[in-house]
Symmetry: C2
Subunit: 200 residues, 2 copies
DNA sequence: TTCGTTATTGACATTTTTGTCGGTAGCTCT
DNA sequence: AGAGCTACCGACAAAAATGTCAATAACGAA
């Protein structure tokens, strides 16, 4: 009876690297399998570490989920903040901006994040969302160059449609037998026409 | 030491009534607190029965969730099937039809149901959804009175927007400080204008 | 090289959630 | 009233998920 020495050597990361590694694993779990698979064991396994390691860095599985929400929200805010749509821009530029907005929600699971937030709804978690929305809205409205009230309406409309299409567009399209991205295409087309009519 | 007799008398329902009672309790849990609160103990408590009673009727908590999905989908299909939007109807009639569609998703948690389905995604469960969508699509397309291809597009567009607005419209509106239902109003307005232009 | 720090881990403890079982009680039928 | 059926329940067992702890092993500093 011999002492069995673990064959795979430990990897030792900086705390930041380790946290990022775990959150990335959790994020792909969320996007690919849904929130209910964000269990301690699953996250740890996906990250390639022991359960105890996850807890060492985050304290609890709830804290992991909270941190994941915050990271994904921050990423999303960055994506959106990078979009510039001056009011006097040519139509093509605004179309590009809207496409980027829709992409931000459809790819990398931002729409899934939004649905998760919508369904969980723990008020404590909403603080982060509220702050993010206010940041984005303030910037967008300030450089919209139009009266703030209708600018808010446009933002509300665009974002609602973007997240809705991002979440449901692909599945509904597939269920109806339409090519991937058809819902997004139709929506963007309509939205752009609407904006042009408002401007002209 | 006396034998303690339970003070509250048992209620004895028919199996159908009992199942309906339990599913109704589960439904309001889903709508008000999200899918993660669909636990055996929570559902039983909300329904006012013992845990074992829930299992007696459904066998497992997963079966409860499956049955709930099926019941909610059936209800939703009924609501949608009841909508009649002939292609040659006056604009006002089509507007009413669309409003009804949007209502079907926003009220009574159909949008939440859709988000739940989207996030869970167990392929076994998708069979029911696929059947429901095909039923609805077939009927809607058949009496749309327009070429089936663009009729499908219109359905895809309307339903995607309806469910997206139903799920995210209220929260986003509130976050931005808009009155309840503003997102729906804006979307309907745009969608109706779009349809009119297509027809005219 | 030696030492101190701490990220990492397996084994274990605790809590939460699900499911089982024998008996009880409401209802119907005779 | 009595008997059979079964919805219903409390108590318990099983499973699953979360969290604790002491020991280990990378890595940087002395």
């Amino acid at each position: 009876m011999s002492i069995t020495k673990n064959d795979t050597p430990r990897v030792r990361r900086t705390p930041e690297e380790s946290r990022a590694n775990i959150l990335s694993a959790a994020e792909s779990l969320l996007v690919q399998q849904g929130p209910q698979s964000l269990r301690l064991a699953d996250v740890a396994k996906a990250a390639g570490v022991a359960n105890a390691t996850v807890l060492h860095h985050f304290g609890s599985i709830d804290a992991v989920q909270q941190a994941l929400m915050e990271r994904m929200i921050a990423d999303l805010v960055d994506s959106i903040m990078a979009i510039e749509i001056p009011a006097d821009a040519p139509a093509a530029a605004r179309a590009d901006g809207l496409k980027t907005l829709f992409d931000a929600f459809e790819t990398r699971g931002a729409a899934r994040l939004a649905a998760w937030l919508e369904l969980t709804d723990e008020t404590s978690r909403l603080t982060v969302v509220r702050q993010a929305v206010q940041d984005v809205a303030q910037k967008k409205i300030s450089n919209a160059g139009v009266p703030s009230d209708s600018a808010e309406d446009l933002i509300l409309l665009s974002v609602t449609l973007a997240v809705g299409v991002g979440l449901f567009g692909p599945s509904l399209g597939k269920l109806i037998g339409k090519p991937e991205g058809r819902a997004r295409e139709l929506t963007l087309q309509m939205l752009l026409g609407h904006l042009e009519r408002l401007a002209g």
